[in-house]
């Protein structure tokens, strides 16, 4: 009888421990990646494989290795994302694409139908993917919208923009990533 009670209590403690550990990991690890980028540590960017928002196929970060990559997290309900979208689109068309810089817009914490409508409204032509289930947003520690990261050709994150980017700020970060070795 005593042994049975001990086993049940041990199982319960284990279960509570798992729940607690998971909660602590989610809280403490949530913003770890942006903090590392902000510190200048150039951490390796977490890979993702996400489906295109429109059409078939997917985009992986690994497939863009060797290029500077601008990764922009956004959502259709986010007001600053509406202000930022024309800046990104303009920079993509006039400077980034001709220089071989890749742009990926990751729609996260959003309804995919709303996101498609957003892309049409703002005429976004760079690759847009949908973060099914929000796993990529969590892995990158995205806590507010929009957030933008610049990845160097070695796959390291060299810049992080919490909130709306400016064209000059993003231009400088791209130049830093291109010079990074």
């Amino acid at each position: 009888m005593k042994r049975l009670v001990a086993v049940v209590v041990a199982v319960l403690l284990l279960g509570l421990g798992i729940v607690l550990a998971r909660a602590v990991m989610q809280t403490s690890g949530a913003r770890a990646f942006p903090a590392e980028v902000a510190s200048g540590a150039k951490p390796p960017a977490p890979d993702f494989a996400l489906p295109l928002l429109t059409g078939d196929g997917e985009v992986t970060l690994a497939s863009l290795r060797g290029q500077v990559v601008v990764v922009n997290f956004w959502a259709s309900w986010c007001d600053p994302c509406k202000d930022e979208a024309p800046i990104l689109q303009d920079l993509w068309i006039t400077e980034a694409q001709p220089q071989g810089v890749a742009f990926v817009g990751i729609d996260t914490q959003d309804l995919s139908d709303d996101a498609r409508a957003f892309a049409v409204t703002y005429g976004l032509t760079y690759p847009l993917v949908h973060d099914d289930g929000g796993a990529a947003g969590r892995a990158w520690g995205v806590g507010a919208f929009p957030e933008t990261f610049v990845i160097d050709p070695q796959g390291r994150a060299v810049a992080w923009f919490p909130g709306e980017v400016t064209a000059d700020g993003l231009r400088d970060a791209i130049a830093t990533a291109q010079a990074s070795s």
Partner: protein, 154 residues
């Protein structure tokens, strides 16, 4: 006449499923309490963030189209992940959240039963051990008294 009745029947057979399909399968208040706002970590019915408003609009649209609550939840989980559900799924790591409270209640009941049994066991032996000693005391005194009386007679 019979032809008209058949035509009417045919029309009804088409209309009835269409009408029932478009009937809302759930109420907004029911489902809102079962969903979470993904950006503010509170229940959807308690949140007025932009994301929550968009989810609410989506749910209302699908409700009026005749979707079931489960279909709506499945669509939201596909976009937002399982954290959009207020109750964790009874599978994987979510199963722990279901089993731990049930286990805690069972252990609690077990502890109460065990304490009652121990308490009863402690009380019962006390009576058994007291009785013989009391009886023996009386017997001894009776014997002693009888012995004293017989000695006096002698």
């Amino acid at each position: 006449m019979i032809r008209r009745l058949f035509m009417l029947l045919a029309v009804m057979l088409v209309l009835v499923p269409l009408a029932s399909a478009a009937q809302p399968q759930f109420t907004m208040s029911e489902i809102e309490s079962q969903l979470m706002c993904p950006t503010c970590q509170s229940r959807l019915d308690l949140s007025h963030s932009p994301a929550a408003d968009r989810i609410r609009a989506f749910v209302e649209k699908k409700r009026l189209e005749g979707w079931t609550a489960q279909q709506v939840k499945d669509a939201l989980v596909a976009d937002f992940g399982p954290s959009v559900l207020a109750a964790p799924p009874a599978a994987g790591i979510g199963l722990v959240a279901w089993l731990v409270p049930i286990g805690a209640v069972l252990v609690g009941v077990g502890i109460v039963i065990a304490l009652v049994l121990v308490w009863r066991r402690r009380r019962s032996p006390a009576r058994v051990t007291e009785a013989p000693s009391a009886t023996l005391g009386i017997d001894a005194r009776i014997d002693a008294e009888l012995q004293r009386l017989s000695d006096e007679d002698a």
